[in-house]
């Protein structure tokens, strides 16, 4: 088991490197670069474009750019500066930057008042440092600030609630929960009542769910619940539970329908299997047969699709974040490409593919628990 997991993880390293190489190469082939047009949309004069290319090292040969990029990424976990957002790094755009600094800054403000604004840290504090050196902007040391567990928890808490990756993950998680909690029971019911009107209605609802484009569903919900009924806020995330409902429904409906259909199909197959007949023949109650024997096995296909689905949803949905103005990373999947923000493209692709690899691994491990007959080799 452990050997299997370690081997799978090792396998994924060349896969990820290959993905990074292909992406890097593909970006160069795409016509138009980060500095073809400025933020205003105007073409940038050639001489000024040359300055910009030089500033970000894009005038070097491609292989050198790639090696530089991967070097920084692997050694320092540094995704590089965003090319279209001067002053912002891709790390900040994806992970929200160093939250511990914010926490410690608040302590400084409590301690020194307005003078704190002219103080900074000798080097950015890490989560496991015991203390950080506070210096004046002139470089003159002021004090040591000791990092307590409360500070660390606070920093982690802020990361989990505020970081763009985490915002996307929250949206995805709620939607997946919704999809599973409604999809699986719907699938089971319609399998057990196959070819009755209950089955037809359940499947009709679930198919309707798949067939409405997300953006129409999103704006429809806004019109109904925000504007006409006035129950829910129109946009945003993370301020109240009410903001969760519409994005989750918009994103979750499609998956819910998909899971319902999948559950129904595999349930139908399972309840015809011999061991279920045996269980019934033994005189077990129908409820026990379904819940204890059939359900577990019929969930295997659901688990399989859950891997890629979680990877796609937890890394953010472009449409949902767009329509509901949620500050996650899903928007970048499109905007980075249209802006030709090379470093941001690399960042989003690597996050997505890492997530995919991890969730597929998790799914493989989960198989072992659901069905002990599946062996790892």
């Amino acid at each position: 088991m452990q050997r299997f997991i370690i081997r799978r993880i090792l396998w994924n390293i060349p896969v990820l490197i290959l993905i990074s190489m292909v992406t890097f190469g593909m970006m160069q082939i795409v016509p138009g670069g980060p500095f073809t047009a400025g933020a205003s949309g105007r073409p940038i004069p050639p001489e000024i474009r040359a300055h910009m290319m030089a500033k970000y090292g894009l005038d070097k040969p491609v292989w050198q750019q790639y090696l530089n990029y991967m070097g920084r990424l692997i050694l320092h976990f540094d995704f590089g500066p965003s090319l279209r957002r001067p002053g912002r790094t891709v790390n900040q755009m994806l992970f929200g930057g160093n939250f511990l600094v914010d926490v410690l800054r608040e302590h400084l403000r409590d301690e020194f008042g307005t003078a704190a604004s002219s103080m900074t840290f000798a080097e950015p504090p890490g989560l496991f440092d015991s203390r950080a050196l506070v210096v004046k902007t002139s470089g003159e040391p002021v004090a040591y600030i000791y990092i307590t567990w409360a500070d660390r928890f606070e920093a982690v808490k802020r990361f989990l609630t505020l970081a763009p990756v985490m915002v996307s993950a929250q949206v995805g998680l709620v939607s997946i929960a919704l999809a599973l909690l409604i999809g699986i029971p719907l699938g089971i019911i319609s399998a057990l009542k196959q070819n009755t009107w209950i089955d037809y209605i359940a499947m009709f609802i679930s198919m309707l769910g798949v067939s409405i484009p997300n953006f129409i569903l999103g704006i429809g919900l806004i019109l109904i619940f925000a504007l006409w009924l006035g129950w829910l806020p129109t946009y945003g995330w993370g301020e109240s539970w009410k903001q969760v409902i519409m994005p989750a429904i918009t994103l979750g409906t499609g998956g819910m329908a998909f899971i319902a259909r999948l559950t129904r199909a595999s349930m139908l197959e399972v309840i015809r299997a011999d061991y279920i007949r045996t269980a019934r023949a033994k005189g077990l109650a129908e409820r026990v047969v379904i819940l204890r024997h059939a359900l577990k096995n019929s969930l295997i296909p659901v688990t399989t699709v859950l891997g890629p689905m979680m990877a796609a949803w937890l890394t953010g949905s472009f449409l949902v974040e767009w329509v509901f103005s949620i500050g996650g990373i899903g928007k970048f999947f499109v905007s980075a490409v249209t802006d030709r923000d090379y470093t941001l493209i690399m960042g989003t692709i690597l996050i997505y593919s890492t997530a995919l690899v991890l969730f597929n691994l998790a799914v493989d491990i989960a198989y072992g628990f659901i069905d002990p007959r599946i062996r790892f080799d």
Binding site: P14, I17, L18, M21, F24, G25, Q28, I29, V30, P31, G32, G33, T36, A37, A39, S40, R42, P43, I44, P45, P46, E47, I48, A50, H51, M52, A54, K55, D59, P61, V62, W63, R85, P86, G87, R88, Q92, M93, S117, S118, T120, T137, P164, I219, I222, L223, A226, L227, P233, T234, Y235, G236, W322, V323, F324, S325, G327, G328, T338, D339
Partner: protein, 566 residues
Amino acid sequence: MKTRTWYLLAGVVVLAALLITACKPQVQTVVVTVPPEVKEVQVTVPVPVTPEEEEGLGAQCTYNAYRMGWVMDYADANNIVNEVFHPDSPFQYTFWDDQTFRDLVDQALVETDPDARVALWQQAEQILVTDYAAVIPIFHYDRTALVRPDIQYEFPPFGGPSFMKWQLPEGRDTLRVRLGTEPPTLDVNLATDTTSHMILNQLMESLYRYKGDGTIEPAGAESYEVSEDGTVYTIHLRQDAKWSDGEPVVAQHYVDGVLRLLNPETAAEYAYVMYYISGAQAYNTGETDDPSTVGIRAIDDYTLEVTLDKPQAFFDSILAFFTFYPVRLDVIEQYGDQWTEPGNFVGNGPYVLTEWAHEDHLVIEKNPNYHDADQVSIERVEFPIIVEDATALAAYERGELDVSGYPSEELPRILEEMPDHFVRLPYPGTYYIGLNTALAPTDNLNFRKALASSIDKRAILDAVLNMPWRIDACGVIPPEIPGYQGCGKVGYQFDLDAAQQYLQAAMDEMGIEDPGDISIQLWFNRGNEDVIEAVEEQWETNLGINVNVVNMEWGAYLDTLDSCND
């Protein structure tokens, strides 16, 4: 073990393949970066291209017409007639050239008498639009927004609104303005887009400022004098101006701002706007690395001197431009890239940045150190970032916003249900179709005239765009700019008979019998489907020719047009 060798091999092969494909465009860059003294030779000697490249380029540059637009930076026709449509301009792709036009532009640039100058621009515009028909203007831009009727607002035609001049109704102190996108940057020298400038306009103050009627008023300056020959501007700064951290604003800060903008290491997009200052271009393009050669200096703490290469009658407009923002080099040095974050940012404008949750919202609050702080009535402005117009409209109708955009599809309903919220504002600029004068059949003048006379611009504005208040364009100079001539005086109006005559003449010249044998390609970037579909439909219906539309996404569009014009 052996499997791993396979992987290694495959990896190396892919890497090699990638490098070969990816390095190809690199060859061109090498040509560009030859030492300056060889540059001229490089231009005259045709660069040898591989057959493959030639074929690709030939296949790419087959546009007869392309869509483009220009929004004016300042109130002088120079900004569009010369900077955009000059045969040497990087912003046009028509391959047109005319000696008289060049001469007229050169004269206009040094002419100091405003009326004579305007007349010269008008002549130049006639040559471009009427005589050559190289450009077909479609309409002039404007800006529309939804603003709650109980708010007093003011939008100047250039730059963003100054919220310090706005008034909220009694009992409210927070204004909520929707932003359509995260501001790409708040670095005063790097920001170029309207969203960033909407914010920067509140946080910073240039020498002058645009008023609602388009004229300028003193802001960071008190007055200026121009030397006899029109090349030296002496600007007197106000002495009570302070930065938000309490430091006084001195002339050196303005000098620092301009020099930082021009410094090649800053890589500022708008550096070229300041090329009128003597020595600016040389410093920016790296010919010299000595900033003291640039014609700007602080005579004393409150006097600034700017020297130009030659007299520029419109230079007072540039004094109000954001390229004249002062900067605090000490702040930038202290915080590095992070100096634009709230708490770090030090500005000289009426507001200070207090919150910036990226991709979510910004908040600015009144700056107590501002010299005119008594005049600032709104205490706090919130800028939620809402990307989708439809969502923004819903939020506005729910009362969550005071100023917002709207999806144009909902316009009829807005005009009917809440006409008092709808605000139309001047936004000088022109939406046009450029014609490729080097490629058949648009190399034929009569054919270009036929194309220009067969577009029913009013129908496009009234029916398709649903914006009947917009002004249809025949010339390129917008109505808000001195020199506007209007339809009938310049360019071509919708006239089917004339179009048919031009077409007949063109076909006689080309030796073509049936207009159905003529095919042209119309390029545009995504997001302009409404107008371009209508233009295509009208050309096909009114002239009987075939029009192929090619649509590309903006980055690819500019890049392909650019590569065709190298």
